[in-house]
């Protein structure tokens, strides 16, 4: 609204300029020109592959075989009959929500700690972000070595303190392997959660907290009634992002366990890679990745509605 008025004010004295390149300068035309590179790029490299993946999932496409034909829902039927696929679905949810929960539990107190002023605050903040900055492919190697079956330093430490009395097979035992993957995923993502939370917390005006304090609200009630409503938008959007990243993760799981042992850590990404790239069954692989889509669509809808309501 304010924009429209301003344009009128500008337009009157600058009529000379307007005549010279009237239509080129019109916003309704320029807007399209400016947004075109990004839009066309994304249309070609995201929208097109996406539709192609729908097509591939109902075809018999394989790596290296020239002809592929329409096979209907065969790929999906095969998936529904595949116990490993159902395990993958279950694993993906366990991995995602397990990681998010622990991240919040660690991230929230950490953000509160960093929201205080103390000596070395910037240093601590800078150091804590490092796991998020370093390539996961490289740092996961350190974890793989720390989880090694023979030379695990974690086992050594735990045995020294007496918490365990035999070396655990972190990546070799079905239940434990999922925990190991979650531990690394938490380690790698909690800085993101903490920094987002911190950014949200610093946006809370100190006066409001003081006012609540004077009104006699304790720390818990201040948090619940004063802090949470203010930080909710960022918290919510940050959480959804984080969920999407975990749910669609490939590298962390692939590098630590490759989905093993006995498929107990397969998530959508790794299973699709195994079938679609390693085994060359493109159709089936595309069908697996498309199962991410409903979940993703749900999150996008929730997020868009939320953002609209907030603004």
């Amino acid at each position: 609204m304010a924009n429209g008025q301003n344009v009128e004010v500008v337009a009157a004295p600058a009529s000379r300029v307007r005549i010279r390149s009237a239509w080129l300068d019109r916003e309704s035309f320029q807007g399209f020109v400016w947004i075109a590179p990004a839009f066309l790029y994304l249309a070609f490299f995201i929208a097109y592959p996406f539709f192609m993946s729908i097509y591939l999932s109902v075809s018999s496409a394989r790596v290296g075989s020239p002809e592929s034909h329409f096979v209907g829902l065969q790929n999906y039927q095969r998936l529904f009959a595949d116990p490993t696929f159902w395990q993958t679905v279950r694993n993906s949810f366990v991995f995602t929500f397990g990681s998010e929960l622990i991240r919040l539990v660690i991230g929230l107190p950490l953000a509160f700690a960093l929201n205080r002023t103390f000596k070395g605050k910037r240093l601590v903040q800078g150091l804590i972000l490092i796991p998020f900055v370093i390539p996961i492919a490289l740092s996961s190697l350190a974890w793989k070595w720390m989880f090694d079956s023979l030379y695990s330093v974690i086992n050594w430490m735990l045995m020294q303190v007496g918490l365990i009395d035999y070396p655990w097979q972190w990546l070799g035992e079905p239940g434990l392997a999922m925990w190991s993957v979650i531990i690394m995923n938490v380690w790698r993502g909690f800085p993101f959660s903490a920094v987002i939370l911190l950014a949200a917390l610093t946006a809370v005006p100190q006066e409001i907290i003081e006012a609540a304090k004077i009104d006699g609200a304790g720390p818990l009630r201040r948090f619940h009634y004063v802090v949470v409503p203010i930080i909710r938008p960022i918290l919510f959007v940050g959480l959804l992002y984080s969920i999407v990243f975990s749910f669609t993760d490939f590298s962390a799981v692939w590098l630590l366990t490759q989905g093993g042992p006995y498929n107990t850590t397969h998530v959508f990404g790794t299973y699709a890679y195994n079938i679609g790239i390693n085994a060359g069954d493109i159709g089936q692989g595309a069908a697996i990745t498309l199962f991410i889509f409903p979940f993703l669509a749900l999150i996008v809808i929730v997020m868009l509605r939320f953002l609209r309501r907030e603004s």
């Binding site: 301003n6 004010v9 500008v10 600058a14 000379r16 300029v17 390149s21 300068d25 309704s28 320029q30 807007g31 400016w34 947004i35 590179p37 990004a38 839009f39 790029y41 994304l42 995201i46 097109y48 996406f50 192609m52 910037r122 150091l127 804590i128 972000l129 490092i130 900055v133 370093i134 390539p135 996961i136 492919a137 490289l138 190697l141 350190a142 793989k144 070595w145 720390m146 330093v153 050594w156 380690w187 920094v195 987002i196 950014a199 960022i234 940050g238 999407v244 990243f245 669609t248 490939f250 990404g269 790239i277 692989g285 990745t289 498309l290 991410i292 993703l296 996008v300 997020m303 868009l304």
Partner: protein, 283 residues
Amino acid sequence: MVIERRWKKWVYFYIPLTLFVIGTLFPFYWMVITAIRPDAELYRSWRAVNNAPFWTLSPTLEHFRDLLAKTTFPYWLWNTFFIAVVSTGISLFCGLLAGYALARLKFPMAGTLGTSIFVTYLVPPTLLFIPLADIIRSFQLGNTPWALILTYPTFLIPFCTWLLMGYFKTIPKELEECARIDGATRFGAMIRIIFPIAVPGILSAGIFAFTLSWNEFIYALVFLSSPERKTVPVGVVSEMIRGDIYFWGQLMAGALLGSIPVALVYSFFVEYYVTGLTGSVKG
């Protein structure tokens, strides 16, 4: 009173925080120690006498020497750098234009286009790597840096657009209008007035995009095959694990050297990095 409070602060604040930071950084410490530890010490039982698990008694650079002499590691470094810089450049270009248009210009369907760019931000590589592999194959770009240079902007452009849009919104409109009254075209006003002010925003977007492309794994794993064409993350993982044998010393040396460029960029521009990180969510 004061003394008691200080004591409490140490117990409830500094000590837990310090322990937490040490724990967080331990994997990197372990990376360093492993990289400089001789093989004989690496593969020895923890129970051996005179063993020093948390440091090494005879540090060596043999793993780094092997890494540089026996593998194509220097190529990987260059590939990763080149790909990250070019794809960041493409993304910044598209993101600047689109971000500016979305923040400033009024045109039909601006809202819809903005939303659709925002939605693409949430589309993960995991959903796209199979069809993209097919497209790359049909364009005969497989195993070339262009496979990555062209695909990395799929996750960088939405991010850059979103971040820069937020940044442009904070720049007062009046600045640009003054230039327009003085006769500058919209493009001229943007180049000469808006971009110079937006440099911190551009820097944040650029640094974040650079680290994202440096760290990318799945596209690089799927699209590249010959050893000398690989990027650091994929090269280290795929070339130093032969069969079931892990060369831990070399692996950690490679992981360390491959992390240093990102760590350097990060340490010089922490503030911009954090702005990029929070801006990606706040918009």
